[in-house]
Symmetry: D2
Subunit: 357 residues, 4 copies
Amino acid sequence: MKRIGMLTSGGDCQALNAAMRGVVKGLSNSLKELEVYGFFDGYKGLIYGNYRLLTAADFSGILTKGGTILGTSRQPFKQMRVPDENGVDKVEAMKHTYHKLNLDCLVILGGNGTQKTANLLREEGLNVIHLPKTIDNDIYGTDVTFGFQSAINIATDAIDCIHTTAASHNRIFIVEVMGHKVGWLTLYAGIAGGADIILIPEIPYSIDKVIEAVEKRSQAGKGFTILAVAEGAISREDAKLSKKEYKEKLKKREFPSVSYELAARIGERIGNEVRVTVPGHMQRGGSPCPYDRVLCTQLGAAAAKLILDNDYGYMVGMVNGNTQKVPLGEVAGKLKMVEPDSQIIDEAKAVGIRFGD
Amino acid sequence: MKRIGMLTSGGDCQALNAAMRGVVKGLSNSLKELEVYGFFDGYKGLIYGNYRLLTAADFSGILTKGGTILGTSRQPFKQMRVPDENGVDKVEAMKHTYHKLNLDCLVILGGNGTQKTANLLREEGLNVIHLPKTIDNDIYGTDVTFGFQSAINIATDAIDCIHTTAASHNRIFIVEVMGHKVGWLTLYAGIAGGADIILIPEIPYSIDKVIEAVEKRSQAGKGFTILAVAEGAISREDAKLSKKEYKEKLKKREFPSVSYELAARIGERIGNEVRVTVPGHMQRGGSPCPYDRVLCTQLGAAAAKLILDNDYGYMVGMVNGNTQKVPLGEVAGKLKMVEPDSQIIDEAKAVGIRFGD
Amino acid sequence: MKRIGMLTSGGDCQALNAAMRGVVKGLSNSLKELEVYGFFDGYKGLIYGNYRLLTAADFSGILTKGGTILGTSRQPFKQMRVPDENGVDKVEAMKHTYHKLNLDCLVILGGNGTQKTANLLREEGLNVIHLPKTIDNDIYGTDVTFGFQSAINIATDAIDCIHTTAASHNRIFIVEVMGHKVGWLTLYAGIAGGADIILIPEIPYSIDKVIEAVEKRSQAGKGFTILAVAEGAISREDAKLSKKEYKEKLKKREFPSVSYELAARIGERIGNEVRVTVPGHMQRGGSPCPYDRVLCTQLGAAAAKLILDNDYGYMVGMVNGNTQKVPLGEVAGKLKMVEPDSQIIDEAKAVGIRFGD
Amino acid sequence: MKRIGMLTSGGDCQALNAAMRGVVKGLSNSLKELEVYGFFDGYKGLIYGNYRLLTAADFSGILTKGGTILGTSRQPFKQMRVPDENGVDKVEAMKHTYHKLNLDCLVILGGNGTQKTANLLREEGLNVIHLPKTIDNDIYGTDVTFGFQSAINIATDAIDCIHTTAASHNRIFIVEVMGHKVGWLTLYAGIAGGADIILIPEIPYSIDKVIEAVEKRSQAGKGFTILAVAEGAISREDAKLSKKEYKEKLKKREFPSVSYELAARIGERIGNEVRVTVPGHMQRGGSPCPYDRVLCTQLGAAAAKLILDNDYGYMVGMVNGNTQKVPLGEVAGKLKMVEPDSQIIDEAKAVGIRFGD
């Protein structure tokens, strides 16, 4: 007999349901008795005791279903120690819910922020297992996160669509790809979509180098150019600012995002309009791709095994092709970024992709 | 023996290549001798004599290929009678190219503006056949244009993706769909995607009605709302302005598009952030859907038949399930708009979709 | 207040759920009180009183969901008047269930066979509305059935995939498309997929003509050939047999389907192996395409309107772009086949497609 | 200056073009002078001197294109040492072509058999680089082959489509997945598609266990069952036969494939018809998925680097997330099979999937 709680927190992504299904199938396949409590809207549900006992029917047919059957919300880690507007101590409230329901374990699906709170709960004595969800692929300790490959597919599809129209019109196009802090998604979608220039937060760009690359293509008789630009792409000058200074600068900016600004700056210098496409939240949505479904089935099964073994306090990651338990204390708070001198960047450069550096 | 010229003009869309393939297959299948001249970048190629003799190889494998192998450009009809910066009379230049190459006919693929110029050339004594290309579906005299169904698929896919994330986060989302003057694409994608509110240029909206609709959903316990909004959606007040006044107003607007403005206005009143997704030019791109491929094969074959019959001066349309020749003089300059009291609008309203009216 | 029953019968297809959602949304939007009884597994549920009162939740999120939430089964019209193994009179049993539940109307979704039974129930005094479901597009009185366009997409996708492998290997490929009696699906998917030869039941083929067409392509230097072949494609000789004789012949055939036999016969004569691909039931499955979702929303809304008007005894079809009520008595029992001399066949031939005739 | 030859051999698959583009972009980006000779139809082109000097235009726009621009053919390794019907010594002929063109290196894309011949050419003194292509994922020395993920997507899509129809009809369905010797594709597509039973060559099945699993689902109230069955799935009894005996047995079999036989045997015992779907060669076709495009860009760049370094005799594989050179002599002739007691099999079993063992 096990009694587990489950929640999804942070921005939603594909395969959250697939992962929960994996955990529950993994448990119910071995246990005669199992109670699964689903907390609604992320940590909120745990704090305010908003939950429901889930049944097998809840997990039927959700392998391919996008979004999360539990709902989610963003609950910044920074505010977990700050009482809410009614003076409720959130951490104590979560512990209270956990103990009231007599849970054996909390299965928590989310990204970096979610992981930090999961680790906090672990430090507070709760049994937790964390599953690494994010289209950003920036979670330390796992080779890949779920949602990442599905998001690559959508972002690449956007670049593919833009490709035909860019070529027909001899135009310069920017496709803005999600990713404020890290460039994994932009890097992979950019390579997959055949982007000519890829700009990511980890490699601050020189606007002169970017324009030079555009012009070189034009001189080589290539009529169109596609730039895959991460939301968090940053120029060399801005990268020298302090975090606070940069935030201030962004607030004053007249453009809705970095891509629009870049488009204006390139367009001005080149003398041609540069178009911008922003697939935006589409990248988190829709049915998970087969890769993510297999990944989540494996991660879910591995999580179930840990629970059956009463072995708690881990993220379950995928390392060198195998699922692996990773102590939460070792990875919480760390960010996995693209290394500017990594093999994949070298290889992208070798086939002619420019990064503005 | 026939000698034909071919060009694609205006914004590109899916199935332009499929349509050209249809014409050429239809001709080469019946003729021993055939010369096809492809003019590059729309009417530009015809004006400045920029063309290439095309071969069978050019038309191989392009049924499924997005964009246009000839390139395209926007050449506003208004400026056709205005000499270019070097004093070149464009209409005379086009006639000159036509006669120099001793063409039997020009096959012109494009939307409304393109059609007007095609009609002008007809009036100037050239043999022309026009094929109705546009994702906007706004060409008078045909039930459907090619590109429309492919664009619906992409716009619907965008709404589908947003659906899962909207539901997971209980959010209000606007998906901005292409269409400055007409709402066909927004209407069909909106219905197909299960949008709750659809705003199109033909039905000016009342912001109060829109907000009321959003709130009603919220009161009914539906956590999220999706609005499909055409680029050219317009409020009742703005619809009362003269064209010139409205243009002036738009110029001063601080938002990049109507969706962002709407999002701000709704968000302010509702007290919740409203997210915007702009698939943009993606909607013109990628491989044509099977519907458009069949449509273009039929239109192309019908165009070829007219050419074999030396019967010129038509658009080839699809009317009640059959291809049909439609005199260019009868349709050029007319716009096919969504009728606010048409059956499909009534039916959309009947299933609960709101139009802000 | 209305009390309606609903069932889906015959082979399942895409957009059944979308159509039921359309009906229910159309009714619940106008009625304060509405009871919808869903009968399980087609007419079986009506015969044996196997049903459930459906709620709004049942219709939420099903616009994009393949299959049918009610289940379905094949109940041949021929056997409706034959008592079951326990001596139950099926027609009387259906009437009994109908009256016991005090229904205002039955909404019946299905193909030709289903329609005949619906008409029988109408003749027996029940109020019925029929919605034309089938990937075969063979229902008389409507320009298009739902499921058809979604199935075209899947069958075309199959041909597209085969195209690249056929071209790489210089091979002859047969793609077997669903359709025992009619060739609509094969015709449209064949044209959309760029098939070189299309064989459908309505145009019996000469094996010599087929082989000649294959050889002509080879002589013209085209290394590969793709045949789109309907399940019910038939040779000229076999078409001369009586129905009974042909059935007998099929039983003795050593091949699992016509495609395998054709592959053997062509391969023998050409001296090269001919490969066969059978997407089969895939063609009925998966999420409905946007076209079908709009179609079903319209058909559903129109059906709801008839119910609100107490106007029964119709199929709701799509005729020349508008939904339309069609008296069941006028269409039941009729089959809509491809006309061998119709415009689309002429156009397909004009672009070089061969039909083996 | 480099002069390289390139060929694709064996069954085609997705991303062959993407891989060749990667190599050529990687070389041309570093070299002022480069000559690339493309041999047609696999080793045949090399043997008989059938080739063409390729230009930059050949590699433009092929990142997303299925198939292979060079064509391919199956040239069994066993027969490489056997003279052809005109007495031509194939190995000598290949060496002759290589030396006549004064090549620096041969880039060979193919699967296991292709790799063995590549190794033979290496032993004969030619400079070769091999890139691991196959949807089977059975190449030793690399974690993944290209084509594998694209094929998973297609096979999973087939299972997804079957899912809705199986559920609607309460049917048992077999989806036959490609793979005669290994079960990787079936395993991954099966897990991704939510198959209930997966049969692969590496885990011989007991028909009793399979039927038991089907019946258990039925007893648990689950109306339908989906089996993902590899082409090379084998029963325990057959697995005991010698290779020769089994081949003989297969020849006498009245069924076109293992799936049809299995369907008959299960159907007989269960008393219900079991349906079979065979996506077949579709699984090799169509545009490569983003995963494969990135993989091939990386492998291609890595191959180019080796060529620039004059470092020959390797397969370029992907090992633990990095491209890596692997000596051909160490891997040629080895097959990478699914281990019956590997982690992924354990995890699949843990979530309730049955393997018939």
